[in-house]
Symmetry: C2
Subunit: 337 residues, 2 copies
């Protein structure tokens, strides 16, 4: 019973977060009906009033209600609880949602969103550029969000600047559109020695975690991008995927095309039936090591700049991405420092 109520309330909060504008109980009931929920407008109103009292929603007049910061936090915390939260599910959803077409160079790509205090904007631009330049980033492009913008389920707080880095899951989407299925196995910490990949030192499987492995490796300070970008010996985020061996050539062609668009992601592609960095692959598949999308912001945490990150969090038009070499200039324009 308690559980059913919670599920209904979460569904209502989801409608509010997706609309990004005040929504009335009538509209919410209609949207939920479309999704297959049987819920009356009166019941929606009842739950909304209860959630107003708990500070999760805020009534702003006739137009309806908006989500509060507490409501936003509640939604993100409820992920594990909903048990749809394992990262492999999220990967599938985002792979399906994106629609970037690399032939016409249009459509949406998946980005990770991070935000930092504006005070660190200039220094961050410089540090992030180092990671892009060393080739430890997914492609060469990124985007920025101003305070108050709401990429995905986040809102960039006042006084902060948002950074959108291309999520490596975008690769899955591009390959899927070409009929190539990609299995994302795990995220890990990849050890580099003299600028060359050596081995994975820690691994977390995507189907057994509610939090992005790279997101938590960054937060825990286990990465070493400062080393990786200077001496070439360090620890960076990477993920391990499998593709059908028959699709190997086509995948390499697509990767080359993506490279020209600033979206290169493949770091290593194995041979059929052979281990890659000692990781065994399934029969008839090849293994691939993909650069971690969050890598450019990981160096910030390491350098003592507090950064909040959410992997796989939003879709943005390819058009809004710009080359990292413009980052210092763009950062200046965004935060006007």
């Amino acid at each position: 019973m308690k559980d059913q109520i919670e599920r209904k309330r979460l569904a209502i909060l989801h409608v509010l977060i997706e609309n990004k504008r005040p929504v009335s109980s009538k509209e919410i009931a209609a949207e939920l009906a479309e999704q297959g929920y049987t819920i009356t407008e009166r019941t929606v109103r009842f739950h909304l009033q209860a959630m107003d009292d708990e500070g999760l929603t805020h009534y702003i007049g006739k137009k309806g209600r908006v989500l509060t910061d507490l409501g936003r936090e509640e939604l993100s915390r409820a992920r594990a609880h909903e048990k749809v939260g394992f990262l492999s599910s999220r990967i599938s959803q985002m792979t399906y949602s994106m629609n970037f077409d690399y032939h016409s160079c249009t459509g949406k790509v998946v980005v990770n969103v991070s935000y930092i205090s504006r005070d660190y904007a200039a220094r961050s631009a410089e540090l992030m550029s180092r990671v892009f330049q060393a080739g430890y980033a997914m492609g060469t492009k990124l985007c920025l969000f101003d305070e108050g913008e709401e990429p995905g389920e986040l809102r960039i707080p006042r006084g902060y600047v948002g950074i959108g880095t291309i999520c490596s899951i975008s690769l899955n989407g591009v390959l899927l559109r070409e009929g190539i299925p990609v299995t994302s196995l795990f995220g890990g910490l990849l050890e580099l020695r003299n600028h060359r990949p050596s081995r994975f030192v820690e691994i977390i499987n995507y189907d057994g975690t509610t939090i992005d492995p790279l997101e938590i490796f960054i937060k825990s300070g286990m990465t070493d991008y400062l080393g990786a970008t200077s001496s070439g010996t360090g620890l960076i985020g990477a993920s391990f995927r499998e593709i059908p061996a028959e699709a190997r050539e086509k995948t390499l062609e697509i990767d080359a095309a993506l490279d020209a668009l600033g979206m290169r992601g493949f770091y290593m592609v194995g041979q059929p039936g052979q281990t890659l960095l000692d990781i065994p692959v399934g029969y008839g598949n090849v293994g691939a090591v993909i650069i971690g999308g969050l890598n450019p912001v990981a160096i910030l945490e390491e350098s003592g700049i507090p950064v909040q990150s959410k992997a796989l969090s939003s879709l943005v038009d390819y058009d809004v991405l710009f080359d990292y070499r413009e980052l210092p200039e763009r950062m200046k324009k965004t935060v006007k420092f």
Copy 2:
């Protein structure tokens, strides 16, 4: 080929770390032969010389060689690479290794080892006591290690003090000896509201990670013990396990006996076939929420005290454990501050 060499070298490093004294190449060859390796003394010597050059081992004369700090780090990093590193394997190994008997109150229990700078000793004793007192620790006992001591694969560095907290895997061992199999499913961040468990907000499955979930949640600063121990609302580490429904009563009896020995670990035990904190359980099983063994040291990281932790890292005699209320006094004796 390269791979075979690496496997041999790791086996040699393992012998060195387990012996905790200088070991000769002859002894190493003999020990490896016992484990089923076919390796000559000459080959061992060849690898040791190469590892001396790389700084992994150190030749100290006729008695043989010891492991350097670099060698120790190499071993810990090689875990993922060996692909025997998934935590569920480690859990099985440690469950089998421990031999604590709760009837006679003798034998070894599994502990997690953490270390902190001696400068923080007094403050840490106070903070850790808060977690024990609030009941968010596995039992009421712990132990200390002085600088230079080598619990498990760690060595407490000069200027540091080691802390051994009972690892909740000790429960698996006790139950196993009574014929009760325990399946450890995941480690997670448990949200408490008004001192009561509410739900898991993040989850990492044991069979899909090389790093202990709680260890990384602590490092990443995602816990909230300061809140949990003051207002009763916060985030603590806990794990989710399953036991056969038929063993439920016996398990509760054993837990009561362990409680009397300062080793209480069960936080919640579910009903047959029913979800526990919304987590579904397998047919014929009951779910159980177990307190995170590392919880007492997690509060240190949160309070800005740098702490290094290794879960599931060592076996200690039950005899060396003492009640947390003696902690301030024992800490004084150990570090002589």
